[in-house]
Amino acid sequence: MTRRRFDPLRPLRLARALVAHSFSEYAAYRMEMVFWVVGGTLPLFMMFLWIELAEQRATGSFSAADFAAYFLLVFLVRHMTPFVPVPELERAIRHGELSAQLLRPLDPYWPMSASQLMDIAHRLPITVPVVIVGMIWSGAWQVIAFEDWPLLVLAVFGAILLHYNLLYCAGLAAFWMERVRGFEGLMWNGYFVLGGGLAPIALFPDLVQQIIVWSPFRYMISFPIEIAIGRVAPADMWFGFALLTFWVAFSIGLMRLLWHRGLRRYAAYGS
Amino acid sequence: MIETTGLSKRYTVYRKEAGFAGSLRAFFHRQHYDVDAVSDLTIRIGAGEIVGFLGPNGAGKTTTLKMLSGLLHPSSGSVSVAGHTPKERNREFLRSIALVMGQKMQLHWDIPATDSFLVLKTIYDIPDSDYRARLDELVTMLDLGDLVNRPIRRLSLGERMKCELAAALLHRPRILFLDEPTIGLDVTAQAAIRNFIIDYNRRYGATVLITSHYMADVTALARRVLVIDLGRLVFDGDLQALIERHSPDKILRVQFAEEVAPERLARFGTLRQIDGLVAEIAVPRAIVARQAADILASLPVADIAIEEPAVEDVIRTVFRKTGAVGKPT
């Protein structure tokens, strides 16, 4: 057997090929994307609800502009939600397509990630203009802490990565279970509702806030948004990123564990 | 029992060019053309007959069955099944028919067949006493044994098909429509299902209409065969006799162990084609066994098979050449 020469550029070439492939796949679903975005407007509805509430009471920790900014950003982040891992993994594992993927010298995690990136990228041209227009029209842009942008980028990246990994783990449950869609729904309730998608975490009862701040849910939606609207105190910032890092590491560990255990089972029983 | 006059079904198909430009063009102006899936079909089938419905893929067999069972409205013509108009799908009509489609399962995947049968029992209002008796009988006739108590997903394709047949016959329909029931099955399973159908027809006098593109299905089951090609009925009668008269050859497919010169094969029959080590030779039916033995004895043969000419070939040679509807003599 011949030995492969060490090729440092291989990952880059692979990445480019995967992304290009996914791009053309998604280009075919352009119309779909519009529908998906239209369907994901719950944060905008919530925004109107909360603005109305804010206007009905004179004082409060969040003003109407604060709510506008908050929920417009929730809308943006929500559309970076990974949709790919669970159904794809369920299909690959339960219908045997995984076998073909395992023959290739590439962990399925990477092509799926490329696919996911394309999914997100395709929504941005629709979501970003909506957010910008909304911000300007409501005057909410004044609330944004632009100077914190490096931390914001880091937090957003961490949020997407964490969410993606956790959903990947949910998909890997297909090695053991017949139907995994339930997990997706579970994650949704935890992530979206508890993570601040329907109401800012700061307004939750104290006990609930304590729990959420330590859970991964805050870091998938609320944390980047809190940074963006300047509601994270410097001390809290360290704490937040520390927990984000912890949860990301945890998700990676869980993924590896489930993958190895799952593969063993897959090899033993077939699909 | 089954009567159609001038039955036809026409579809409008949209054509789209490849690529984005094509999609855009199609968005504004869709080109369409008509396809006559079935044209002017006129047939009479009496009670208790087993009739085979033969034709190449896409000839219109499934479409016809769907029109006879009420799943599709005809474009024109009239059809009467057991005295009812199928497309109205009234209760009495539905209780007297059954349709089994080869590739599509009616039974639930994850649970044993018996559990699905119980639902059918309620749907068709089968009395308890009759249900037990019929189920036992069908299980015996189909040689299912305990298989009905195993989840469907754990059964082989042939076993699943048998369960599907049992499900279809629980309510003792007077007419049984079978659409490619043996497709994808191995030879043993195919034979078992054919034998069951003959047995059932003999016992209960059910009218059976079976479509297939396997000649063997139809010739084993049915004296009478309707041949449909390109949506039209091209033959109605005893096919075996017709084939033997017009298509007197069987096909010898021989795989040789080493190269054999084509000239050496000429004495066994008509060489239809030779591709590397595999040759197809058309041999008159009467002597095909003898010729096969001869080839085995005198040439280096790796594998040999005696085959019926494909339906497509028969239809092409017998019907398209003459261009006329063959009348049985």
Binding site: F204, P205 | L72, K87, L94, D110, I111, I123
Partner: protein
């Protein structure tokens, strides 16, 4: 009655299928309380800096959340496992088999399956209704009867809307987007509609009667129900059901004339 016999047969059968998926129970045992707790937390957030939202007190608003959970449970137990699978039925040929049975096709497609694992949501929602009644001191037969009547109307309307959405699967291949849109609006309906800006209120009452599904039964619990609204709820349920059935018939007529 034959209908009852059929339902019993369908649902025992469906249970047998579901029992094969025991893991679903586990997921739901976690999911239902999670949704319950999260919903309450959000409601608490809404009331965190005020005691009245859209003219509703916290104890009254809990009833709305309760109805919302019941509706969600209804979607999970009856709507999703049946009409939600229509695209699959069409694609795999199961619809053809349904059309061959001497039982109404709309009935079969709507009620064939039952997903018992989603019942926890129904129970938790009912618990919230119970709490609200207790807190408001309105535990009497009249309130309960009125609530059940409005709930039945609301669920019928929800069923009809779902049916209309999914019947369009005969023409649109991807219906899930319509469903998401519908669910989004129902999600907003977990709050008292009077707390919403006027245009949104209009959307959820006149355009899509979501308010009649989630809010009106809660109004019955809170003693806020007026005659007009009550009768309107019943009327809307009846009309919606009729429309959904007619639409279904139209769809089947089209399917049997044009499909291959």
């Amino acid at each position: 009655m034959r209908v009852l016999r059929l339902l019993r047969s369908f649902w025992t059968n469906a249970l047998q299928v579901e029992l094969e998926f025991r893991a679903d129970l586990l997921v739901n045992l976690i999911n239902a309380p999670l949704m319950f707790g999260a919903g309450l937390a959000v409601l608490a957030a809404v009331f965190s800096e005020t005691s009245s939202v859209g003219g509703w007190s916290f104890d009254e608003a809990v009833a709305v959340l309760g109805v919302f959970l019941i509706v969600d449970g209804f979607v999970g137990t009856i709507l999703s496992p049946n009409l939600g699978r229509l695209p699959e039925y069409i694609r795999l040929g199961n619809l053809d088999y349904m059309l061959l049975m001497p039982v109404g096709s709309h009935f079969q497609v709507s009620l064939r399956n039952l997903n018992l694992w989603e019942v926890p949501n129904l129970l938790l929602g009912t618990a919230l209704i119970g709490y609200s009644m207790l807190a408001l001191g309105r535990v009497d037969p009249a309130t309960i009867a009125l609530f059940l009547l409005m709930l039945a109307a609301g669920l019928t309307t929800a069923f009809a809307l779902w049916s209309i959405i999914y019947t369009s699967a005969f023409w649109f291949v991807r219906v899930s987007n319509l469903e998401v849109m519908f669910r989004t609006l129902v999600d907003v309906g977990r709050f008292p509609v009077s707390a919403l800006p006027p245009w949104l209120r209009l959307l959820l009452t006149a355009v899509l009667p979501v308010a009649f599904i989630t809010n009106v039964p809660a109004e019955a619990v809170a003693g806020r129900l007026d005659w007009t609204t009550g009768w309107l709820a019943l009327l809307i349920a009846a009309i919606a059901l009729a429309v959904s059935h007619l639409f279904w018939r139209r769809a089947i007529a089209s399917y049997t004339s044009a499909s291959s």
